[in-house]
């Protein structure tokens, strides 16, 4: 058996999905590392490591969710997913009219789910590494309310740290989602005929 026969036996390979996803991951990691670095006062290397870790984790969990959800969906809806994966289009079946709404809803759900997973992942990672990044911006603690609360001690410091995390991850996620949506749109319009 020649090597080409072995390759042909592979059937359909999701190589385009792997390449596109790797590219999107690189873009998302770069953008989110920028945001995390600014908000959490991290070094370049640390912020890229954090962003890469939480994005790899979120992407894998997303795959697991997709693969398990796809197995339990109604048959007609699964056929629409196949149609989109294999032919980049939907076909005429009873779900066709509901699909645009479902996609928008799914995108919103995915945005908040990834945001939540990334936030949890980041705090778990910081706890795993046993260090809290330097957070308090001096400009913020100049405000009277902030200085009073900082005098009260640890709980409010933890609260403000959580607030900084929440904001940083939310902004990072929003930025990377915007970039990914633009890139996916370009891919559909330009790369594919």
């Amino acid at each position: 058996m020649s090597p080409t026969d072995v390759l042909a036996d592979l059937g359909l390979i999701p190589i385009k999905a792997v390449v596109f996803q790797s590219m999107l991951l690189l873009v998302a990691i770069a953008l989110e590392a920028m945001v995390l670095r600014q908000h959490l006062r991290l070094g370049y290397q640390t912020s890229v490591q954090y962003a890469a870790t939480i994005n790899l984790l979120t992407t894998s969990l997303g795959w697991i969710a997709f693969l398990s959800l796809e197995a339990v969906l109604p048959t007609a809806l699964r056929q629409q997913i196949m149609s989109y994966v294999l032919f980049s289009r939907f076909f005429d079946n009873p779900w066709l009219d509901a699909l645009p709404v479902m996609m928008v809803v799914a995108a919103i759900v995915v945005f908040f789910a990834t945001y939540w997973v990334k936030l949890q992942g980041l705090s778990a990672l910081v706890a795993l590494l046993g260090k809290a990044p330097v957070l308090e911006a001096p400009a913020l603690s100049d405000r009277p309310g902030r200085s009073r609360s900082s005098r009260r001690g640890a709980p409010s410091a933890a609260r403000s740290r959580t607030a900084t995390y929440t904001l940083a991850v939310l902004q990072a996620n929003a930025l990377s989602f915007t970039a990914i949506v633009i890139l996916l749109f370009l891919q559909l319009q330009v790369v594919l005929p």
Partner: protein, 345 residues
């Protein structure tokens, strides 16, 4: 010893004999010895447990030794340390390859995770099997590696999910995937025949069974109830094909038009599933159903049979056998080709 051979022998000695007892070569030798012991115990008719235990030890030593060798020899293509991945691959081959059957799927899916464990376990357990806490830098790289191996495993799972789809819906393989943003078909594969063609062939057989060489009036009545025939045909064709989730996506359509003094029957197999073609596609087969005069096979013995003769003029009919001669029989002729049309009929 022959003097010119001496340098070769010494170099062979240094490469075959481990520098110290604690080296990868020792582990490889332990693996070989375990294989040998397994073979000997099988030859001596030892219990399957002994043979299996020896073979298991051999596999584990092989995985350990090869991984160690990759690390010790600093084989790092593109600066990546691939030793754990090779060890993980050997372990997966052993874990799932000995099962037999469809072992490739679980082996490939777990390979990245097993490789992650190969990296992680020495970092998390000491030699005394006590849990230990690695440095933050190692913890960070382990977390990254876990994410990466999970992603790799997901890609393998996605590949196998695609193959499941194509097994369930074999007609999809006959389509084109140029527009897909996910998948690529390696060129040079044989394009399989769409299931629609075999549906049409089956439908032709069933129609011939019901119509061919049957009395013409009955056939005309059969054609009158085309809707009912279509319904029957659909369920019969589906029963005759191997059960598959895609069979409900093939719809058989029948249409008639008058043709001479007979009818032209269009049999269409319409694909209602996903397709690269805008609006889907259908296959069509054209059959002609013609009345043919035939002397009744059950009646006449003396009359010479004239198969395929045109319908005789009733005026010229033999008056002695009116019933036999005036009986017209249906003849079904189908074209061989089943062209593909885009859209819906």
């Amino acid at each position: 010893m022959i003097p010119p051979l001496r340098p070769y022998v010494t170099s062979l000695k240094t490469s075959l004999l481990p520098q110290s007892a604690f080296s990868w070569l020792t582990v490889i030798y332990m693996s070989l010895i375990s294989w040998l012991m397994s073979g000997i115990s099988r030859y001596l008719g030892a219990s399957p447990f002994t043979v299996g235990l020896m073979a298991t030890l051999a596999w584990i030593f092989l995985a350990l030794g090869v991984g160690w060798a990759f690390e010790a020899k600093r084989i790092k293509p593109f600066g990546l340390s691939i030793g754990p991945w090779v060890s993980g691959g050997i372990l997966c081959l052993f874990l799932f390859g000995s099962w037999g059957g469809a072992w490739l799927q679980p082996a490939l899916i777990t390979w990245p995770l097993v490789s992650f464990l190969v990296v992680a376990v020495p970092n998390l357990l000491s030699w005394e099997l006590q849990p230990k806490r690695p440095s933050p830098a190692v913890r960070q790289s382990l977390a990254l590696l876990l994410g990466f191996s999970l992603l790799l495993s997901s890609w393998f799972q996605f590949y196998f999910r695609l193959q499941t789809w194509l097994q369930d819906y074999p007609s999809l393989i006959a389509d084109t995937f140029d527009r897909s943003a996910f998948v690529y078909r390696i060129p040079g594969q044989a394009m399989p025949l769409s299931a629609g063609v075999s549906y049409l062939t089956q439908a032709e057989l069933l129609i011939k069974d019901q119509v061919h060489n049957k009395p013409w009036p009955g056939v005309e009545r059969w054609l009158l109830n085309l809707r009912g025939q279509q319904h029957n045909l659909q369920s019969q064709v589906q029963l005759s094909q191997p059960a598959s989730p895609e069979s409900s996506l093939w719809q058989i359509n029948l249409g008639t038009a008058t043709q001479g003094n007979g009818y032209r029957l269009n049999i269409q197999a319409v694909w209602l599933g996903p397709s690269a073609l805008d609006g889907g596609y259908y296959f069509e087969k054209v059959c002609d159903i013609m009345p043919v005069a035939q002397p009744a096979a059950y009646g006449g013995t003396g009359a010479s049979p004239r198969p395929n003769a045109p319908l005789p003029d009733p005026a010229n009919a033999d008056p002695s056998r009116p019933a036999a001669v005036s009986t017209a029989w249906a003849q079904v002729r189908c074209q061989l080709e089943t062209p593909l049309h885009q859209g819906r009929p």
